[in-house]
């Protein structure tokens, strides 16, 4: 057995992750600082955030780091990242269709690019390039439209033809003999993938280190409202008073809002995904085909990650189905016939809070102090950082930041829907 070198100094827990500290820890065996510190549930917090996914945790992070607000509790009925944040296919991009959407998601990309340094946690962001295929004239027209909107906002995005697609993805069937020949694609070089669990853990670690309480296995069962103002939440572990309550529960969000008497235009649909055994790296870009209801990327570990559009009926069930895998496999093979021998390792489902205009609902509600950051549908992981930043600003200042103003709940009564379906329905 190797005897660790112990001195008082070297036994101090190591907090910062760095090459030097890994070396030091290896020699001294000093413990790493605990990442999630358990706490008693207090009877009151300034801010209660319901939902420990990327949105809830990012909001807690920016509340602490940008505004110095740390009297905050993040409550999750299960473990952090148990919702969509631990089940998504981790595609990041900002080539949306509406100028409001492009600006919003592009700010998130900016935050994501610096997130590893910001959180001192390797979130494995990989810029890969993102291709949205067009198999008919209609979608090619939408791609052109998107490319122009994107460029006007300074987002790198252009329409490319089959020859260029073949160069980017040599294994793709770009021939005219395919059942749905590929006419072109929207190419978005800054798009990429990230390690979704690492993003959740990285935010949680920072938040916890700043004294914010993360309470797992803590289910919100009621919300108290008095005189049109939120006063607290009721949980399976006791009641908690709060001045501000934030709903970040995605697929479950209409149930939570209902507790506060706020109705929302949200319907919950399952979305499934699947992953293959790992193979050598051959696919750099992220490839999406809306017509074929499928998208593909290859992780750093070599697995192919497949996704599709939401299940054909609304449900809170997270069971997968054979029909999904059958359909998925068929469509993948239309794009890349050489994958026929590849074996699937597993598939799973998560819940998506779909809105009528494929855009989020963020900001204030008719109940004072009860805020929402929901409607994340199939595309909300990429929005975690910018949403956290904006929602934290709203909590701290009481003013809705301009970048999220178009996504308010009132748009459904003021007829200001966003119309993001063309860029968000399959390409998450």
């Amino acid at each position: 057995m190797v005897r660790p070198l112990t001195s008082k100094l070297s036994r101090r827990p190591v907090k910062k992750y760095s090459a030097v500290n890994i070396l030091r820890q290896g020699i001294t065996r000093a413990p790493w600082a605990p990442v999630l510190v358990p706490h008693e549930l207090r009877g009151r917090y300034d801010v209660v955030i319901i939902g420990g996914g990327v949105h809830g945790l990012a909001t807690a992070h920016y509340l602490a780091s940008n505004h110095g607000i740390t009297d905050v509790a993040v409550l999750d009925k299960s473990y952090i990242g148990s919702g969509g944040s631990g089940r998504n296919t981790a595609i990041l991009r900002s080539n949306y269709l509406t100028p409001e959407g492009v600006r919003f998601y592009d700010r998130s990309m900016e935050l994501y690019r610096n997130l590893a340094a910001d959180l001192n946690f390797n979130v494995m962001f990989a810029k890969r390039g993102h291709l949205t295929l067009a198999h008919n004239d209609g979608s090619l027209r939408t791609m052109r439209w998107r490319a122009e909107v994107n460029k006007l906002q300074g987002v790198d995005s252009e329409v490319v033809g089959p020859a260029e697609i073949k160069k980017l993805v040599p294994y793709m069937d770009t021939s005219e003999h395919a059942r749905y020949p590929i006419l072109g694609a929207l190419y978005h070089p800054p798009g990429g993938i990230i390690r979704h669990d690492a993003v959740v853990w990285g935010y949680a670690r920072q938040v916890s280190a700043r004294g914010v309480h993360i309470h797992q296995d803590t289910e919100v069962r009621g919300i108290d409202v008095a005189g049109g103002k939120v006063t607290g939440v009721r949980t399976n572990r006791g009641d908690v008073a709060a001045g501000t309550v934030l709903n970040c529960t995605a697929g479950w969000s209409s149930l939570i809002s209902e507790m506060a008497g706020v109705s929302m235009p949200v319907e919950t649909f399952p979305l499934q995904a699947a992953v293959t055994e790992p193979v050598r790296p051959f696919l750099d870009a992220v490839v999406v085909s809306a017509s074929l209801h499928v998208y593909v990327s290859q992780t750093d570990r070599g697995e192919l990650v497949f996704g599709a559009s939401v299940d054909p009926f609304g449900s809170y069930s997270m069971r997968g189905s054979l029909e999904f895998i059958e359909g998925l496999a068929g469509h993948v093979l239309e794009l890349m016939p050489s994958l026929a021998k590849l074996r699937l390792l597993r598939s799973w489902a998560g819940l998506c809070d779909m809105t009528p205009d494929f855009s989020p609902i963020m900001g204030e509600t008719p109940v004072q102090g009860f805020l929402i950051d929901v409607g994340w549908g199939t595309y909300g992981f990429k929005a975690g950082p910018v949403s956290g930043e904006a929602m934290a600003e709203l909590v701290a200042t009481g003013k809705t930041p301009e970048i999220i103003a178009p996504f308010d709940l009132a748009r459904f009564t003021d007829d200001r829907l966003m119309g993001e379906k063309g860029a968000a329905s399959v390409g998450h």
């Binding site: 235009p265 319907e267 559009s309 609304g314 069930s317 189905s321 054979l322």
Partner: protein, 95 residues
Amino acid sequence: MMLLPCPWCGPRNVTEFAYRGENIARPDPNTADKATWRDYLYYRSNRAGWEREGWFHRAGCRQFFSIERNRTTNETRGVGTPDGAGDAAHSGDSR
């Protein structure tokens, strides 16, 4: 595989059906005010329990019907009734 009992064809794989959404009454477009109409277009109860919903037996008898389904467990109960043209305005994806 999930089975859905069609009142005409009996239990069939759910993939044969098109989901029409929660059964909600369509307001009269001639008399409904904007608020009622928006409500009809966008708002759903999205319950995590039993709900009466409309379905269309697309790859079968091509009839509409409605049935109660538990939206958490996906179980159905009772028999389908021949109504439930339901509402297609809000099903997440138009496949």
